[in-house]
């Protein structure tokens, strides 16, 4: 009952924020002016802002759900594609295509490379930290991936052929949803939908993992299948998100943590609420950066990091006893 109330409230919030996201910006277009296609503002709402709003929802849902799934699988509340280096590895894949020039000619190459990077990252994480899932080894494995991916990106930047290429890569890395078109929506949406579908399939397995890996196996859960569905699901959701928006961290970390007291800690039951919650968070953050008075627009990825960094720190403080 309470769960349904929270879900309904989240959906309502998401719808309201979506409408605000389409109305808000340098030119404010109230809902009453949306009906006239001859009005120049119609084009602003439906051709410029609609793709951005759709991407906010899709990317937010993707990051929220993949964070919840990773936390459930690892039984670690600090797991998140951003924090554990999955997004960074996806970014490295994308940057390599940009650097080699393949990204410019074939936009889907960026997505494919980002997903490949994310898949490699998840598989390495699972291999580096093993099934025992100690929080410390997981975080260390994430630190290694983060560092390696960062070094790879730095190498690509230092070897970049010209300053414009550097500028393009740096801008893209910071994570933003500005100036996106329907082409990006069409590319990312199906990949994210399939990825979320795969993650939903392992909901029962994640629930059973509450009892640890032996417990889950004794309940008939196929751990090999669960591991692969998780890896591919996270690669699709996080990889496609990074491909269209760059790195936006902390969504998958913050959202499940905030929702756990509201909808219960059962990891399978947290997947859908986290997807909706992620969409709400990214919509809100994107509206906030658009309305922030500044010379240029603050990058969404930067804004999320400003918000998420202290949150991560506070979470770490509250978990201090468990980790030590």
């Amino acid at each position: 009952m309470r769960r349904l109330t929270v879900l309904a409230a989240l959906v309502a919030l998401g719808v309201v924020l979506s409408l605000v996201s389409m109305a808000a910006g340098r030119v404010w277009v109230p809902l009453s002016d949306w009906t006239d296609p001859s009005d120049p503002r119609w084009a602003i709402v439906f051709e410029l802002r609609l793709p951005r709003t759709l991407l906010c929802v899709a990317v937010g849902a993707a990051l929220g759900m993949s964070g919840a799934a990773m936390q459930g699988y690892t039984r670690n509340p600090l797991a998140d594609p951003g924090a554990l280096g999955v997004s960074a590895m996806a970014a490295l894949g994308a940057v390599l295509t940009l650097y080699l020039g393949a990204g410019a000619s074939q936009p889907w190459m960026i997505a494919a490379a980002a997903m490949a990077g994310a898949l490699i990252a998840v598989l390495l994480l699972l291999a580096l930290s093993g099934s025992a899932s100690s929080i410390v080894t997981f975080i260390l494995a994430g630190v290694i991936l983060q560092t390696v991916a960062g070094a790879g990106v730095a190498l690509a930047l230092s070897l970049a052929p010209n300053p414009w290429a550097v500028n393009e890569i740096v801008n893209w890395l910071m994570g933003s949803l500005a100036d996106r078109s329907m082409a990006e929506v069409q590319m990312a949406l199906p990949l994210i939908a399939v990825g979320c579908g795969l993650l939903l399939l392992i909901g029962r397995g994640l629930d059973a993992l509450t009892l640890g890996e032996t417990g889950a196996r004794s309940l008939g859960i196929n751990m090999t299948a669960t591991r692969w569905l998780l890896a591919i699901g996270v690669a699709l959701t996080a990889g496609a998100s990074v491909a269209v928006t760059g790195v936006i961290g902390f969504v998958g970390l913050i959202v499940p943590h905030l929702l756990r007291p509201l909808v219960g800690a059962r990891p399978g039951g947290l997947l859908i609420p986290s997807a909706i919650g992620g969409a709400v968070l990214v919509l809100a953050a994107d509206i906030a950066v658009r309305l922030t008075p500044a010379a240029g627009e603050v990058k969404l990825g930067v804004a999320m990091a400003v918000l998420g960094g202290p949150f991560f720190f506070a979470l770490l403080l509250s978990l201090r006893k468990r980790i030590a």
Binding site: D207, T210, L211, S218, G220, R260, A265, R266, P267
Partner: protein, 258 residues
Amino acid sequence: MSRLSARAISVRLGDKLAVDEVTASFEAGSVTAILGPNGAGKSTLLACLAGLRKPLSGHVRLDDVGLLAMAPRARARRIGFIPQTPEIAWAVEARILVGLGRTPFIGASGLSLEDAAAIDRAMAAAGVEALADRDVTTLSGGERGRVLIARALAGDPEWLLADEPLTGLDPGHQLDAGGLFRAMAHDQGRGVVLTLHDLSLAARIADRIVVMAEGRILADGPPVEALSPEVLAAAYDIEARHVTGASGPLIEIVGRGR
């Protein structure tokens, strides 16, 4: 009557044979306790019997079907397992944890009325109805142990294999849980296999006792025979004697052997 049998199974852990060519057969309808010193291979044997560990050689059969050839879900419906020191990762309510026992039965639509009824029965049988809405991470060790027993009962399994299920329970609840295991075996015809450490408690609960040491079975039979002073001296290096108490045979540990 259902039968769970291990034939000549060996398991290697590191460079040591944790289970060394063990052959044992268990019949439904009785309670068997596996005893032995630390590192004797009790837990490893139990994991093999539950189909959770592949032996290096030999095989485990449930009614003439190889356990590893069964689909995991089908196996999970027939064999319930309680691991030693079970992990509980998230702060969920006790009823939700017990509900995880229904995992092998749950379809796409979630918990059915039948599932809910099975959960209620299991919680009543384990005496944890009052804890239903409590966060499991705030329960005491003994309360958590009983919730985990209820979790295993919720799957209504033909076989219950439990690795030290009585550790951390107070004497009253140890007796309750022991009585529950006996009722499951004697009244409901299930097979129950437990690993235990308390000799007298094992003698009181189990119909049959298997004593292991260094990966092999040292003795196998009715409690008083399997726990003879000679066997206990060989297995644990202790001097023990049988005392007849009001509740039945008690095993008094006199001291270290020799």
